[in-house]
Amino acid sequence: MKNRWITIALIVILTVSVLFISIYQTRQYENVIRVTTATSLYATGLLDKLAEEFKRRYPEVSIHFIAVGSGEALRRAVRGDADMVLSHAPNLERQYLNDGVLKSGGIFAYNYLIIVGPSEDPANIAGMDPVRAMTAIYVAGEEGKAKFVSRADKSGTHARELMLWSLAGVNPLNKQWYLELGADMVQTLMVANEKGAYTLSDVSTYLKFSKRLGGLKTLIEKGDALLNVYSVYVVNSAKVPGVNEKLAEAFMKFILSEEGQKIIEGYGIVEFGRPLFNAANGDPKGELKNAWEDIAKLG
């Protein structure tokens, strides 16, 4: 009987300390920038690197990255659950800019999406212009020779894929050879690999993962329509309550600064043997801004 009470007392002490520690953890919550971001961007590790450098100047600030799809990243910002958004879906961004939810912003990096597919390349698209390649895949799909896997998750990559189809003037929706997954990039690449299908991918995920994708090959890696523009936005505190605008603006300035751009430019060489992003460097010729407008219009 005595033993029992000791055990019960132990359990109570343990639980109380568990509660105490958990509550204590949530107290470290000031000076925080909440950044919702596209998963593919976060998964490269670039953001942690940028945050680390930023914190050398602002040691008291913590940056919380919440990695979700671009669609969800923006949606969370509307609800007041982000101070900053990093996104690569201009068509979606435009909508939120028009609504006034996003305030200032800037393009901080770009790279090219790639079209990957089975190494036999049944639609014969290798090296083709991306828009014409989509038509070729459509035709081959209708003939029963090719398949295409879509992420179908409202991510930036998905938005771009839909744009490519519409530029090509074809509509693959509800076709037998067009598989809509609702999955992230890794799962989509895996399905494409298993099914011998074409798909659109970002470079970094594909590179990291390519050793497991024996059946796939990069077929197209250039072309204006594949330009992938990453933008940073501060959420408008006049429209959305509770936004930590000041700190978010400081972090945005850092990302767009020469120092931040240099980090972006060199990122990935160590791990992949090639940089993953090109720095926008203020977009001196306005080309990126134009590309952004073009994509935004199509959305």
């Binding site: 055990t7 953890q25 949530t26 909440r34 942690d48 007041g80 992230d184 690449l189 995920t205 959305v240």
Partner: protein, 212 residues
């Protein structure tokens, strides 16, 4: 790397532990009332609890996200993206499971012990105390299963916690992140650790339960 891993494991244990404490603190009393008070709602409530055992974790996550979001009704607490919010979400998630399991335990003890205690002249309060203390080891198993469900779930932790490094990243969200990065080996390692830690907790709790 190891430092971060240890942090994640400890954080997972704390959050799921807190969730279990919360769920137990309201789940067991509810079950006790349901067992002792003969009510026509008893069966209906248990049916509801049994149904809610099947609730998808992302659904609970989404509902609570809308509640805790800055523009949600409880937004002023500011607990979204904190360990506390995950613990609360997981507590709600596992409450039906704990109720459902402990209800069948108490039901059994009731026929064996309660009736006898009453018949030899115990008051209802005394009978209740005897009933609960006699079933403690089995109740502990019910609570343990609740804990295991909490520590292994993904949806609530991902949506409410946001998988923030160093703050709300737990084992399941870390696994999901590694999978989405294509780092399957690391994801599998983390999965192994998750199962191992859960196994340890299970064994320890069973040992403690034997002393009760």
């Amino acid at each position: 790397m190891w430092q971060e891993l240890t942090d994640i494991v400890v954080r997972s244990l704390l959050i799921s532990g807190m969730a279990t404490v919360l769920a137990t603190s309201w789940g067991i009393p509810i079950t006790m009332i349901l067992t002792v008070k003969e009510s026509k709602f008893r069966r209906a409530l248990l049916d509801v609890a049994n149904t809610l055992v099947a609730i998808p974790t992302v659904l609970i996550g989404l509902l609570l996200y809308l509640l805790f979001s800055r523009s949600g009704p409880l937004g002023f607490f500011g607990i979204l993206y904190t360990p506390t919010s995950i613990a609360l979400g997981e507590a709600i998630l596992i409450t039906p499971l704990i109720i459902s399991l402990s209800a069948s335990v108490l039901r059994e003890t009731k026929t064996d012990i309660w009736e006898m205690a009453i018949s030899i002249g115990a008051t209802e309060r005394q009978a209740l105390v005897v009933m609960v203390t006699e079933s403690l080891p089995k109740l502990l198993t019910a609570v343990l299963l609740g804990f295991n469900r909490a520590i292994g779930e993904l949806g609530v932790a991902l949506i409410l916690g946001g998988n923030i490094k160093g703050l709300t990243r737990v084992m399941t969200t870390a696994i999901a992140l590694e999978v989405s990065k294509g780092e399957f080996e690391l994801a599998l390692t983390l999965g192994g650790i998750l199962l191992f830690v859960t196994f340890l907790v299970t064994v320890i709790v069973r040992k403690v339960g034997r002393d009760l």
